[in-house]
Amino acid sequence: MNKILFSAVSKKFVMALAGLFLLLFLPVHLGINLMLLRSDPEPFNTAAHFMATFPLVKVVEILLILAIMTHITYGLIIQVHNWLSRPVRYAVRNKSDTSAFSRFMIWTGGSVLIFLVIHFFNFYFIKLGIVEGDPENFYAIAYQLFAVRGYAILYWVCFLILGFHLYHALQSAFQTLGWSNEFWKPVIRVISLIYSIVIPMGFAIIPLIIRFFK
């Protein structure tokens, strides 16, 4: 049974499913974040309050935490195993024709994780009562953070890196789940490209608009 659950293919399957679940959540999060562009803080704070209190969302929240932990844990296990599979490295760097986005997934993923930890401290842990702050006014907290130039730059860079991660992640998930063939491969590539530009740039544009146009 262990051989089935932890085979090279099964581990990637679990990681892909967890990753796709996270990808479904991002547009919902973006939809709420776009309310930050309104001058009235009420709609954003109401949406944030709904996300923090509605019972069904609480269930989804637990699933999301599980998906994040599964994706990270399996990603690290797979990566360590992959490094061990080539104990002696080549003297000349591999020049095979591959996408740069696909070669640095562990590093782009790690960068996104660092941002996620910062993000949790800034918002999620306030909601849980671990960190001090007003959970009913995330609108004001977001505006205070975006007013800090360093945070705005970090936010922007992290979403650029997230875009790189997602471009390969989406294609890779389809391939891992077996939903790719000669016909669908270019279609999946276009869908991945659109998703990895629209969603991260949707997030990244918010601090730019707040800083320069509001």
């Binding site: 090279a8 581990k11 080539r86 000349v92 760097r93 020049k95 696909s102 890779s172 891992t176 000669e182």
Partner: protein
Amino acid sequence: MKLKLKIWKQGDAHSRGSFVTYDLDGVAPEMSFIEMLTYLNETLIGKGEEPVTFEHDCHEGICGSCGMYINGYPHGPVKGLTTCLLSMRNFKDGETIVIEPWRAKPFPVIKDLMVDRNALDKIQQAGGFISVTTGAAPEANTIPVNKKNSDLAFDASVCIGCGACVAACKNASAMLFVSAKISQYALLPQGRPEGKERVRAMIAEMDRQGFGSCSNTGACEAQCPKQIKLFNIARLNREYYKAF
């Protein structure tokens, strides 16, 4: 042509290896890469030095034995070719060529550029076959096969098991090799009866041999001398999930 060759020299899997540099003059552009190395060895033997060990056999790109990592490319910089079919025309006069053996935990170095690729054979032996009763050969057209599947199965079956996919992959994964072996049977009616057992057994053996996982980077497809396509790996994944 005059070349500077930096070649990996190693006594066996347990000894430490290092690069040795050879200056080689008189290489003809018409030579294949294997002929160039043979010419180097003749020169070394003539001087009383130890020749470089490397594997080669058919010289027509079908035996898969001549794999080596040349200037950062498995089988060299030309796509769709094995090392034995790689011409010295693809290199410049005075160029430095760095030659390394395949690097992967399941491919221990036997000597110099020659590695033990038995791990691939073990995967094949685990399930890469069909069981048939012996006797008179049946009529070939008794079982209908549609043209598309026939072509796809043939394209997968041209894998020569050279190990370039493993050598190119940043994870030393053998998924392209296994996917080709799975696909050539999965696409044909003769392969279906043992399909589930086959994919389970071959993946289990692949893991036992210590190959890495697939990151879908496509380096294997880019470097495969037989140009096996990446979507065979998607088919392998489908076959694996269906087997439970």
